[in-house]
Symmetry: C2
Subunit: 254 residues, 2 copies
């Protein structure tokens, strides 16, 4: 049997968001790899060993899974959200590119998942209804000035912006700095959404404005969406406001 | 009973991609609304009427569903992909904002789905592994020069770019023009992915480069991904190349 590594997205944290393709791939895998809390979401099965690892050892985890698959096994790697969005699929590809030739002979399958920005957007209305971008605020893997240039490009270009990895213990100031940077381009009233643990029991969605947005509202489990100049709020009695970005642009040709 | 409208994403076209939350919402709805081909993906149920409409009447469809929900019913609207990404959720919000006050009292629920760019990215490897954006190429709803400015901002900012609605019968030249525009910023060797009908039986994924990319490879069922300067190809014997964008940026601070 030729080896296979399937990289599986578990969505935002509840099985209601896991696609059947992922459920089937998890059931048929001979071994599971992944960050411990993600593996904990997968039902235990007899004869299916699981190899948990920490959240800062993506390369080592990918290498271990690839070595296992190269022995002819069907191995699965679990990822939160979508494995292709700031997650394990790119880490696995990086190891394959740098690794032994036999890894290139493996069957590599990526099973998509509901990435955080889609779950948060759904909880808030339709803020991603028009052109948007996704930016990771982590400057562990890229220089901060590149992040600022991308924030400038996105905000001045009229994109709605989803911020992944807004805050961590080691990166306490980046989100506040990003809000300041975005305020150079966007009105104080621009809608901002904080989606924390969306899809889980402790889900919390906060809708505010750019001038009132505080980095204290975010942690590692938070996804932040900043509206474009066209993003609007619909106030409703007895319901949270709906935030949406119209599909039609009102902007007149320059 | 208070009325509810649930807007449901069916993913890219096969039930393997429909999340359980969507399946349950479809089963419990008292009536279904949607574009005909999307409704055709949903199993028929006795006592659950379905109201099919064409693909250019989003506003009228939303209005009909909202009116139905306002009579106290639990109504579902189906959408391809994710309803929040260039799809029905924003159309419904637009109708609510412009409509009668009673529509604001409705329970509005959005159930996310696997949007096309996630499915195409998964089929190709991990091209969305780093900062990326999504742009609709349809100039039905915004001026073409705004689209060009966004292409400029995205390409010069180093974003991977997913193009939705690249081509239609009424919009034959926009994708070719977009490739020309992007070539002002990106190397001829930049990877380009055409994903057609991904997740369906007639799925076709083509990997090429910006200088060789032809708009003839795209139609209304195609999603196009254009790499950033950091997007890479891993050639493999017996397998399609893997396309991926590393999570770490090699770019040095400016």
């Amino acid at each position: 049997m030729s080896g296979r590594l399937t990289i599986i997205g578990l969505g935002p944290g509840d099985n209601r968001f896991v696609i059947p393709e992922a459920t089937e791939a998890l059931a048929s895998a001979e071994a599971l790899y992944g960050y411990g809390p993600y593996l904990d979401r997968v039902p235990q099965r007899d004869g299916q060993p699981r190899h948990a690892s920490g959240n800062r050892v993506e390369g080592a985890r990918a290498e271990a899974a690839l070595n296992h698959a190269a022995r002819g096994a069907h191995v699965a790697m679990v990822s939160g959200g979508d494995p292709g969005v700031f997650a394990m699929a790119a880490a696995v590809c990086g190891e394959i590119e740098a690794g032994p030739a036999e890894w290139r002979a493996l069957d590599i399958v990526v099973v998509p998942g509901i990435t955080a920005m889609l779950a948060v957007a759904a909880a808030a209305g339709a803020p991603l209804g028009h052109d948007f971008c996704a930016i990771s605020l982590s400057d562990n893997l890229k220089p901060w000035d590149l992040i600022e240039r991308r924030l400038d490009a996105a905000a001045s270009g009229g994109f709605v912006i989803a911020l992944y990895n807004p805050v961590s213990k080691a990166r306490p100031w980046q989100l506040g700095q990003a809000f300041k940077r975005l305020a150079c381009h966007l009105a104080p009233s621009t809608p901002v959404i904080f989606g924390r643990a969306v899809g889980r029991e402790d889900e919390a969605v906060t809708i505010t404005t750019l001038d009132a947005a505080s980095d204290a509202k975010a942690d590692m489990a938070t996804l932040v969406i900043i509206g474009s100049p066209e993003t609007r709020l619909i106030e409703r009695d007895g319901h949270r406001p709906l935030v949406y970005t119209p599909r039609a642009s009102a902007e007149v040709s320059a």
